[in-house]
């Protein structure tokens, strides 16, 4: 897997994804509408990567645990309680720039 260009196909076929807190992994998974459990590495507690994972958890979009609580999380999880992740809106950025340049 290490050198695959994209995990898109594998993601598409999965029913559940368990991942580290990397932003790319989290966002790609959520955008495909797959349930996600994020596993935090306790030794990297001050890593800014956690910010997005924590926020996604606060928003109810992902489940959250560390290596030692993973089994427990899998046993007691309720995936239907996970909220969908709305897509970003680049059109708002385009609209903002148009106003800056007087195109609107």
């Amino acid at each position: 897997f290490r050198f695959k260009d994209s995990l898109a196909e594998d993601l598409q076929g999965a029913d559940l994804v368990i991942s580290h807190a990397g932003a790319g992994s989290c966002l790609e998974t959520l955008e495909k509408g797959k349930p996600l459990i994020v596993v935090i590495n306790d030794k990297l507690m001050n890593n800014h990567q956690l910010e997005l994972a924590k926020q996604l958890h606060r928003d109810g979009c992902v489940l959250y645990c560390n290596c030692s609580t993973l089994v427990e999380t899998l046993q007691s999880m309720d995936l239907s309680a996970l909220k969908p992740f709305p897509p970003g809106q680049p059109e708002k950025f385009a609209s903002f720039l148009d106003k800056v340049f007087g195109l609107q």
Partner: protein, 182 residues
């Protein structure tokens, strides 16, 4: 006042930064052309992503134009503060002539170290009255509570500083909050 088309210089950082910045560009009209991409010399993957993006764009907009330039990487992850200042100054030696050559109307960047020398070059050219470029910085979606180092610096040098989470808007009141845009 300026009239379209507006030339755009896009700073493409590695990995996720490039993906994010291409999403930001996805809804722009052809008034923002040509697009001059600037990459770090050690970045292999971004070039492929950019070419793919521009190729798709050319299917809709036949007059689409873009270019690709490379500059030395200004900072490695977790590089020390002192050596970062030196490598950034070294990168400015490259980014200054590049920015001068392209004289963009707009610079768009989203956080990689590469954007600091580029934006500082544009800022300098503005001070010298050579070209007044609008600098737009969009902090990455990964930044919910704290700004990246590039963000902390460019908060003071950019014309528009965009954040994607409300906490950051509270902490940095001069920023613009449009919600999630990637």
């Amino acid at each position: 006042r300026r009239t379209p088309p507006f030339s755009l210089l896009v700073v493409a950082g590695s990995g996720g930064h490039t993906t994010e910045i291409l999403r930001l560009l996805s809804c722009l009209s052809e008034s923002y052309s040509p697009r001059h991409y600037v990459l770090a010399d050690s970045d292999k993957m971004s070039e492929a992503k950019i070419r793919s993006f521009e190729q798709k764009r050319a299917e809709t907009f036949s007059e689409s134009q873009f270019s690709l330039d490379r500059i030395p990487r200004s900072r490695e992850v977790r590089q020390s503060w002192v050596s970062s200042v030196l490598t950034t100054l070294y990168s400015i030696l490259y980014s200054l002539p590049l920015t001068y050559k392209r004289k963009p109307d707009l610079i768009l960047c989203n956080g990689p170290g590469t954007c600091v020398p580029v934006c500082l070059s544009a800022f300098l050219l503005g001070l010298l009255r050579i070209k007044r470029t609008i600098i737009v910085y969009v902090e990455s979606i990964c930044r919910v509570e704290t700004l990246s180092l590039s963000g902390k610096i460019l908060y003071y040098f950019s014309d528009y500083f965009i954040v994607q989470w409300p906490d950051l808007k509270k902490k940095y009141p001069k920023s613009v909050y449009l919600g999630r845009i990637v």
